[in-house]
Structures are given as structure tokens and as C-alpha cells.
């Protein structure tokens, strides 16, 4: 249990005869003691390389990593006091699940009763109490994954690393396990880094989420902040299910103040911005409209319904205004058939603007509302 600091951590792979590959570029992150963070990103974004540098299986090319004030760069994996659940489970094949889980404790010569008690406790937590006496090769991949998770969680290490800890589990089990794991980690004040490409896992488990893309850290913030104030175009297009509508647009100045006209070449949608949004007229921007803040049913705008999908607890609507596609999410059922023209309103807090050239956020409606 300690704080983890990453200072300009960079990983460069230099394969012989080929160009060097930057897997992680200048990663700065400070994880507090007892905090759970998630590294979220698509495949190849550098999250696994980051994890492997923390564990010591990959050397750090530049920068430094410290845990509880202790510099890790030169330490061997065995000396770093970290526990890890591997994506490929990596259970020891000749040992039973019980011995696998108890392995680290037995090695530390923990008292017999304590080991038995802890194994039972953690097996109950992840739901593998029935398969403790079986061998890894005879249980399903989901159970192996849970056993691997148990093997990591049982250790009182300074840092817990969970690499895709729930990728093989069924949705129902996942939902339960997420809550249990979070409670387990929080109760014991454990610092943890969870690597995942699943947003729901990240949002449910982590206090803060580090969104990575193309070797860089895009934003490191709480789940709510990622949603309400995405720092750039990538985060806006990545977070949320369905993700934010993004339309190329232009800032104009109307009678009542600044407004944004979309798309840039036409004027299918014109939205007024508050006076405080000091934006020069003619500025090209990406307009982000969060689907949950498009209120269908009443409002000044009109759109044609293309698809109306009721998902059991919410409605996903594909709308079109003069050929401009928009996605909207409504909490209840929406009474509209495809082809019908419906009125809708854009809630001010659902408006985001991003710089066209750099992709950085320049305006958040939610910030104005707050």
C-alpha cells in the first residue's frame, strides 16, 4: 500500500534492422495511496507496456517509476513488492488452484491457519470455492481467470496490478465481481492499477481513469469528469456508449451572442452559446453533442428519425437533420417511427467544442452550467 509515481516514463522498442517503436511516450501519472486507477485504451495504446515497466519485465527507456517513495527502475521484479493478475492467467500448471492461490503466502511462511482462512476468504470473493482442489487445466478459462485474480488479491503487496482481470467472465458475474473487488481493495486500502479496454469495467472499478491512445496519456480524470469535460477530441470520441456526436462546425456571431453553426459548410443546426464563451467568429471547431443531452420530444430543432431502438431500459435514436446524422439517447420509450420528423432540444450542458487543428477542448457546456 503506497503511492505510485510515473515521471515522464517512456518505452522505446528498438527491433534490430527496423525502426524504433515508441510504445509509451512521456507518461506522467501520480496515483495516491489506496487509490484505484484504470488504464483504458484500445489495443496497442501502450497500457500493457506501462504495466510491464511497473512490474519490471520491461526496462524503462526514459523517466522514472517510484512506489512509496522508492525508485523502482533498477529493482528486480521480485524486489518491487507488487502483485499481478495476468491476462493469460499464468497459473502454475502442476499446482492445484488452492496451492496456486496460497503460493505467495506459503512462500512468506505465513502461519498455516492464516493461509487457510485467507484462501477461503478470497476464494469466496471471486467465486472459486468449489474448484480449489482442481488443477488449472481442468477448469474453465473464466475460473482460471478468477483464480489468477485471487492469487493477486490475496497478497498484501504495495501495489496490485490487474491486467484485463475480467475479460473472460460473463456479464452477470462481471457486474457482481466488480463491486466485490472494489470493496476488497478499498477495505484494505490497497493501491491498484487495472488495465482494461472495457469502459464499464474502468468506470465501475476505478477512482480515476487514465485514457491512453497511440502511446500517449490523453486524460487522467474521474469517470464523471471524462464524461462531462473530455480534454480532447479523442477522449470525446472514446468515452461513452454510444460516444459523443462529433460534427465539423464554425463559430458565428449572432444577434444574441456567439453561436455555433453545423455543419461548417451548411446550417442544419445552429446553437446559441452563452456570452461568456469568448470565441472568435469564423473559428473552425469540432462540435461535440453528447447523446444523453439531446432531448427528443420538444424543442426548437427538427430531425427525422432513422432508427428507433428500445433497449429495455433506454432508447437509442438515430436522427438526421439535412443529411447530418446524430445519435440521441432517451431514458424512457420514445413514440416515433422511422421516417417521422420529431422536435428536439440540445441541453446546454451537452455542448462541447474542440479546436479543429489540435483537437484540444475549448469549451464545455457542462462547465458553464456548473
Amino acid at each position: 500500500m503506497a503511492d505510485l509515481m510515473l515521471n515522464s516514463v517512456t518505452k522505446i522498442y528498438r527491433p534490430r534492422g527496423r525502426e524504433a517503436v515508441r510504445a509509451v511516450s512521456g507518461l506522467d501519472m501520480a496515483v495516491g495511496d489506496g487509490e484505484i486507477i484504470a488504464l483504458l485504451g484500445s489495443s496497442g495504446c501502450g497500457k500493457t507496456s506501462t504495466l510491464r515497466m511497473i512490474t519490471g519485465f520491461e526496462a524503462v527507456s526514459e523517466g522514472s517509476i517510484s512506489l512509496g517513495g522508492r525508485r523502482l527502475n533498477e529493482l528486480r521484479p521480485a524486489e518491487r513488492n507488487v502483485a499481478m493478475a495476468f491476462e493469460g492467467y499464468s497459473l502454475y500448471p502442476p499446482l492445484t488452484v488452492r496451492d496456486n492461490v496460497a503460493f505467495a503466502l506459503l512462500r512468506e511462511r505465513a502461519p498455516r491457519e492464516e493461509v487457510v482462512r485467507k484462501v477461503a476468504e478470497v476464494a469466496e470473493l471471486v467465486g472459486i470455492a468449489d474448484s480449489l482442489d482442481r488443477f488449472p487445466s481442468t477448469i474453465s478459462s473464466g475460473q482460471q481467470q478468477r483464480a489468477s485474480l485471487a492469487r493477486a488479491l490475496i497478497r498484501p503487496a504495495a501495489l496490485h496490478l490487474l491486467d484485463e482481470p475480467m475479460s473472460q467472465l460473463e456479464p452477470q458475474v462481471r457486474a457482481i465481481l466488480r463491486a466485490r473487488i472494489k470493496e476488497w481493495l478499498k477495505d484494505r486500502g490497497m493501491t491498484a492499477v487495472v488495465v482494461t479496454h472495457d469502459q464499464t469495467d474502468a468506470i465501475a472499478l476505478a477512482d480515476r481513469i487514465a485514457v491512453m491512445e497511440a502511446s500517449r496519456l490523453m486524460q487522467f480524470a474521474t469517470p464523471a469528469e471524462l464524461r462531462e469535460r473530455p480534454a480532447n477530441l479523442f477522449v470525446a470520441s472514446f468515452i461513452g456508449e454510444p460516444p459523443m456526436n462529433l460534427i465539423e462546425a464554425e463559430v458565428a456571431v449572432g444577434a444574441s451572442g456567439p453561436r455555433v453553426v453545423a455543419p461548417a459548410a451548411g446550417s442544419a443546426l445552429t446553437l446559441d452559446l452563452p456570452q461568456t464563451a469568448a470565441l472568435p467568429a469564423g473559428h473552425r471547431v469540432w462540435l461535440g453533442l453528447s447523446p444523453r443531452h439531446l432531448a427528443v420530444g420538444q424543442g426548437p430543432h427538427r430531425a427525422e428519425v432513422m432508427v428507433n431502438q428500445w433497449l429495455g431500459d433506454q432508447t437509442h435514436l438515430a436522427l438526421e437533420i439535412d443529411g447530418l446524422p446524430l445519435t440521441a439517447v432517451a431514458a424512457g420509450m420514445v413514440d416515433a417511427v422511422p421516417g417521422e420528423v420529431v422536435p428536439f432540444a440540445v441541453e446546454p450542458r451537452g455542448i462541447h467544442l474542440f479546436d479543429c487543428a489540435e483537437g484540444a477542448a475549448i469549451y464545455h457546456g457542462s462547465a458553464e452550467a456548473a
Binding site: 534490430r16 521484479p77 521480485a78 518491487r80 507488487v82 495476468f86 499464468s90 497459473l91 502454475y92 497478497r155
Partner: protein, 285 residues
């Protein structure tokens, strides 16, 4: 439609018996020959019926070859012992050098790594006769001629590449994360190699060791040139049966049977690993 009727099973049984007989016949014939006198063997037409005799084995074990009226001293049992010493020591040395090397080639990418691995494999390409003459000259200068050590060293050309390349494949199949998990639990690199990597690759190591042993056991030309009768293995020793007074077929057969026993026993003992190993290699992952 399933062929499970009794005549299908019978047909299958007969086919299998015929195929086995076809392949086992030479071995069976040699076994029968080893219990016959030279006269019985050479009669025309040949017959499977004869009075069995243990004279051939007796002569080999006593080390006295009795031909047409003369007696010849041979050291066949010594040759078998030499074969065993040479093959076993070669394989042990190759395991000691080859298994860690195979692990390094499988796990780490380093400068010239592939080139070194390929060079080691290329030892198997060169015909032994190509290197024998220079080797003989060097060995005589270095005092390695006619020593176990010299022969074991040369046998590395046979056993080391074999073990290195087979075992490397097995290490590549073992997930490195299992070792990572072990190391993160507080163990050194060496312990994770010895306690995790080697046991998991054991079927492959056993299979490679057995194959290497058989290859070493069957080697003829290195020992023929680089050693005298003191260190020569059974393959060279069998030449003694071609005497001035004729070829001693019965004793050759008995010698063959004796020389096959050690590899046969070893293969039986290691069969469990061997089958497991061969099938593991075929189905990756």
C-alpha cells in the same frame, strides 16, 4: 455408418498384424539368428526351425570369438560399455549446455542470436567426413586422440544442436507470464528457470535427450577415426565379426541384440515423456 461389426474388427486386426509383422520381421529374424550357429544360418533353403544355442552370447560375453578352428580375442562388452559412457556423457553435457542456451534463444532477443542458433544447427549439415581429417590432426596434437573426453567433445556436434533446437521450441510454447508470475512472487530469475521453465518443458527435454542418445549411440565414423579399441563404441566394435575366416553371422546377430538392449530399455523408461512430448510439440499451445 459405423464399422463395428465383428468381421470389420477381425479384418482390422489381421491388417494390423500383417503390417506389424512386415516391419518387425528383420528384427525378429536377427533375434532368431542370434540363437543359431553359423551353419544353421547359412543353410539353403533357410528354415525357421533349428536347435537354439546360447554359444553366440557366451562367446561375446567371454570375449572369445571362435571361428573356423581359431580363437580371436574381442572386447565386445567393453565396446557396449564405451557406447554407454560416450552417449550418456555426451547427452548430459549437451543438456547442461543446451537447455540454458535453448531458454536464452527462446526468451531473449540479442545481437547475433539467430545467427548463433543457426550456426549451431549448421553443424548437422556438414558431412562428418568433411571435418574428420583436420579433427584427427588436431586431436593428435592436443592429446585428445583416443580419449573419452575427445570423443564426447566431438559427439557434441551430434547431440547439442538436436537438444538446443527441440528444447527451444518447447520453451517458446511455455507462456513467459507463468515465469513472470513466479518472479513477481519474489523469486529470482534462476529459480524461475529451474522451478518453472524446466519442469514445464520436461517432456520436450526428455524427448530431445532420448533422440540425442540414440543418435550418439548409432554414431560410427567419429569413433572409428578418432579412437582406438579402448574407447570405441559398439558400432565400431561390430567390425571385429568380419574375420579373415569369414563373417560370423550368429555372433553379429547376438551382438546386435545386446547393443539394442540399452536404448530399448531407455526408450521404454522414457516412453511416457516421449509420447507426451511429441504430441505436445505437434499441437502448439
Amino acid at each position: 455408418m459405423q464399422h463395428t461389426s465383428w468381421h470389420w474388427r477381425l479384418f482390422k486386426g489381421i491388417c494390423l498384424a500383417l503390417i506389424s509383422l512386415f516391419f518387425l520381421f528383420p528384427i525378429l529374424w536377427v533375434l532368431l539368428m542370434s540363437f543359431q550357429t553359423n551353419e544353421d544360418i547359412l543353410r539353403v533353403p533357410p528354415s525357421p526351425f533349428f536347435t537354439p544355442t546360447l554359444d553366440n552370447y557366451r562367446a561375446l560375453i567371454a570375449g572369445e570369438l571362435t571361428g573356423a578352428g581359431s580363437t580371436l580375442k574381442i572386447a565386445y562388452m567393453k565396446n557396449i560399455w564405451n557406447s554407454f559412457v560416450l552417449s550418456a556423457c555426451s547427452v548430459l553435457l549437451s543438456l547442461l549446455l543446451g537447455v540454458p542456451a535453448a531458454y536464452a534463444f527462446a526468451r531473449y532477443r540479442f545481437r547475433l542470436g539467430e545467427n548463433i542458433a543457426f550456426t549451431l544447427l549448421s553443424f548437422r549439415f556438414a558431412p562428418p567426413l568433411l571435418v574428420l581429417l583436420p579433427l584427427l590432426l588436431y586431436f593428435q596434437d592436443l592429446g585428445l586422440y583416443d580419449t573419452y573426453f575427445g570423443l564426447i567433445w566431438v559427439y557434441q556436434l551430434i547431440t547439442l544442436p538436436l537438444i538446443l533446437w527441440i528444447v527451444r521450441g518447447y520453451f517458446e510454447d511455455v507462456s513467459p507470464d507463468i515465469e513472470h508470475a513466479y518472479r513477481i512472487d519474489g523469486h529470482s530469475w534462476l529459480r524461475s528457470f529451474l522451478k518453472i521453465a524446466v519442469p514445464l518443458a520436461r517432456p520436450g527435454i526428455a524427448a530431445a535427450a532420448l533422440l540425442a542418445f540414440i543418435f550418439a549411440w548409432n554414431n560410427f565414423v567419429f569413433a572409428l577415426i578418432l579412437g582406438s579399441s579402448d574407447v570405441q563404441p559398439v558400432t565400431v566394435g561390430a567390425l571385429a565379426f568380419i574375420t579373415a575366416s569369414g563373417i560370423q553371422y550368429g555372433q553379429i546377430a547376438a551382438g546386435l541384440v545386446l547393443s539394442v538392449i540399452p536404448t530399448f530399455v531407455l526408450a521404454l523408461v522414457m516412453q511416457r515423456y516421449l509420447v507426451e512430448g511429441l504430441s505436445l510439440g505437434a499441437v502448439k499451445g
